[in-house]
Symmetry: C2
Subunit: 323 residues, 2 copies
C-alpha cells in the first residue's frame, strides 16, 4: 500500500493527525497531493458544509466557536476550516490582533484547521475546499468554513458550501456595505451579531427589505438576531440551519446545488492551469510585451493587441499535452 | 468620414458631449466600439492617471471633489471616472445613500463620468480604463479614477493608474482591514481622511510601520493627514502627487509602469474572450456537467475531471478562428 493510500486509510478511520497531514500536503501541492485527492474522491458528500462569512469585526470566530459547541451538545462532530486572517483559529495576529482561542478547540470532537488567506490568491478557495474534503472523509458531520467577506476568493470559499451564512453587525450603512461587497448575492441566511447594539433594528429592517428580493428558489432567506459572545440566539441559528439542511434534502435540491458547485470547481481548475501555462510561457510573454509596446506607442488599440496575442496563445495551447 | 471617426475627431477637439457618447458606446460594447478604440489609440498617454480607492465611508468622493477644485486652481483640467456605487458622482443611491453633488461638477474644466459597478463584474476595470482613454484624448491633464476598495475588479481600477492613492479613516482595526482588503499592496500614497477623529495618530503609526515594508522601487510611500470636508491637507496632497509624477518621469519609470499595465490589459482581454468562448460553448459545458456528476458520485477527483475537460477545451480552442 502506498504512503498516500495509507494516509487516506487512516483518515477514513478517523485519525486526526493523518487528516492534518493530508491537508498540508494538499495545500502545498506536494507530489502526493493528487494520489490523496483521488483516494478521498469516493468519500465525499457526507458532511453538511456551512460557509460563514462577513466583514472584518463581525464576530465570525466567536460565532463559529459557539456554533461548534452547540453542535457538540447535539452530538454532532464538527470540522472547522478558518481562512480569516484575523481568526483566533487561524492564529492570525496582524498588526496587533489579539489571539483568543475558542473554547470549542479543547473538545476532541471538534477539528480545527486554519489557512492563511494572504499569498494564496485564487488558490484559496481550492485549498479550503480540499481541506473540507479531508474533514468530510474524516467523518465530521458538519464542516464549517469561516472566511472574511472581503475579496472574491474569500467569498468563493463561503459560496461553495451547502449553505452560506452572512454575519453582519449593526452599524451605519452596514447593509449597504454588505451589498457592495457582494455578500447579499451569496447569503442563504443572515445573522445580525452583537444585536444588542444600537442600530440593530434599523439593520434588521434594511435586511428584511433586501432579503425580500433575493431569489433562492423558494427558500425565504431568514434574518436572525444573535449575541454570540453571550451565546444568545445560537440555538435558534442552529435550528434554522437544520431546517435549511432538511429543505435542501427535499427532492434534488442538495444534489443540484452540489452539481453546480462541482462544475464550478472543475472550471476553476481548468482555468487556473490554463492561466499558469499561458502567461508563464516565454513565447506568449514575448508577444504580449511586444504588443504592449505598440499599444503604448499609440500604434494599436488594446483589443487589436489581444487579437495578435490570441494567435500565439492558440498555437501554444495546441502544443500542450495535458494540464 | 465614418461616424466613429467623426466622433473621435470631435473628442480630440475637446467636445465633451462627444466624449460622453463615446464612453457610453464603449461601455455598452456597441458595434462602433472597436472603431472608436482604434481611433483613440494614437491619442493616449498624455493624462496623469490617479486611482483613488478605499473602504466605503472613507470620504473618497469629497476628497476627489476637493482635489479637482485644487487642480483647477493650478490651471489643470480634470476628468473623473467614478465607479463607487455610493459616490455622489455616480449618483449611487443604495438603500438610502444620500446624493450629494460635488461643487467641482459646476466647473466646465472638470468632466465627470459615473459608472455602475454592479453587474459589470470583471468588465468594470476594462470599461473604466476605456473611459479614462477617452478623457485622455479629450485633453484632460489629470484623469482621476475613483473606486470603492472592495472587490478585486474595483481594486484593479485603482491599480491600473499611474499612481494609486488609498484613502482610510481612523477607526479601530482600520489598517488591518485595509491590509486584508489588499489595499496595502497597491498603495503608492496613503491618505488618512477625517484625521481630526480620535484614533488618527494610532492609525498613522500603524500605517508608517506597514509602509516601511512596502517596496516601490525606491519610492517612499507617504502618509498624509487630510480633512477633505474642511479642505485641509488637499494642497499638500496635490504637491505629493506632483512629486510622484515627477519621480515617475525620471528615467523610464513611467514608461515601464505603463508597459506593465498595457500587458495586463492585453492579457485581461484575451482571458475574458477565452472565458466567454470556453464556458458558453455547449460542447464544453456538456463535458463539464458529465464530469461534475462523476465527481459528485465519488468516481473522480476534481483534478481528474479537469484533465478530462481539458481535452475538449483544447479541441474547441483550436477551432476558434479569432477572438
Amino acid at each position: 500500500m502506498s504512503r498516500s493510500a495509507q494516509l487516506v486509510e487512516r483518515i477514513l478511520q478517523g485519525d486526526r493527525r493523518a487528516a492534518a497531514r493530508a491537508i498540508s500536503l494538499l495545500e502545498n501541492h506536494a507530489p502526493e497531493a493528487r494520489a490523496i485527492a483521488e483516494g478521498l474522491a469516493g468519500h465525499r458528500g457526507k458532511s453538511f458544509r456551512v460557509g460563514i462569512t462577513g466583514p472584518p469585526g463581525a464576530g465570525k470566530s466567536t460565532l463559529v466557536d459557539g456554533l461548534a459547541r452547540e453542535l457538540r451538545k447535539r452530538d454532532r462532530t464538527v470540522g472547522v476550516v478558518a481562512v480569516d486572517p484575523s481568526s483566533p483559529f487561524s492564529g492570525g495576529a496582524l498588526l496587533g490582533d489579539r489571539v483568543r482561542m475558542g473554547r470549542a478547540l479543547e473538545d476532541p470532537g471538534v477539528f480545527v484547521r486554519s489557512m492563511a488567506s494572504r499569498g494564496t490568491m485564487g488558490g484559496l478557495a481550492r485549498s479550503a475546499q480540499e481541506a473540507a474534503d479531508v474533514l468530510d472523509a474524516l467523518g465530521k458531520d458538519w464542516v464549517i468554513l469561516e472566511t472574511v467577506g472581503v475579496g472574491q476568493s474569500e467569498l468563493a470559499v463561503a459560496a461553495a458550501c451547502d449553505v452560506t451564512v452572512v454575519v453582519l453587525v449593526p452599524e451605519a450603512g452596514g447593509a449597504v456595505q454588505a451589498m457592495k461587497a457582494g455578500l447579499m448575492e451569496i447569503a442563504d441566511l443572515f445573522v445580525v451579531n452583537k444585536s444588542d447594539r444600537p442600530g440593530a433594528d434599523e439593520m434588521l429592517a434594511q435586511l428584511r427589505e433586501t432579503a425580500h428580493y433575493l431569489d433562492r428558489e423558494g427558500w425565504k432567506v431568514p434574518i436572525l438576531k444573535v449575541i454570540a459572545i453571550q451565546e444568545q440566539g445560537l440555538e435558534a441559528l442552529l435550528d434554522r440551519l437544520e431546517s435549511y439542511h432538511a429543505w435542501l434534502q427535499e427532492g434534488e435540491r442538495l444534489e443540484e446545488k452540489r452539481l453546480r458547485q462541482a462544475a464550478l470547481r472543475i472550471r476553476d481548475l481548468v482555468r487556473a492551469r490554463l492561466e499558469e501555462r499561458l502567461w508563464l510561457d516565454p513565447e506568449v510573454d514575448a508577444v504580449v510585451q511586444e504588443n504592449a509596446r505598440h499599444v503604448l506607442a499609440g500604434q494599436l488599440a488594446v483589443h487589436q493587441a489581444a487579437i495578435n496575442v490570441w494567435g500565439t496563445v492558440r498555437e501554444r495551447l495546441t502544443e500542450l499535452e495535458g494540464i
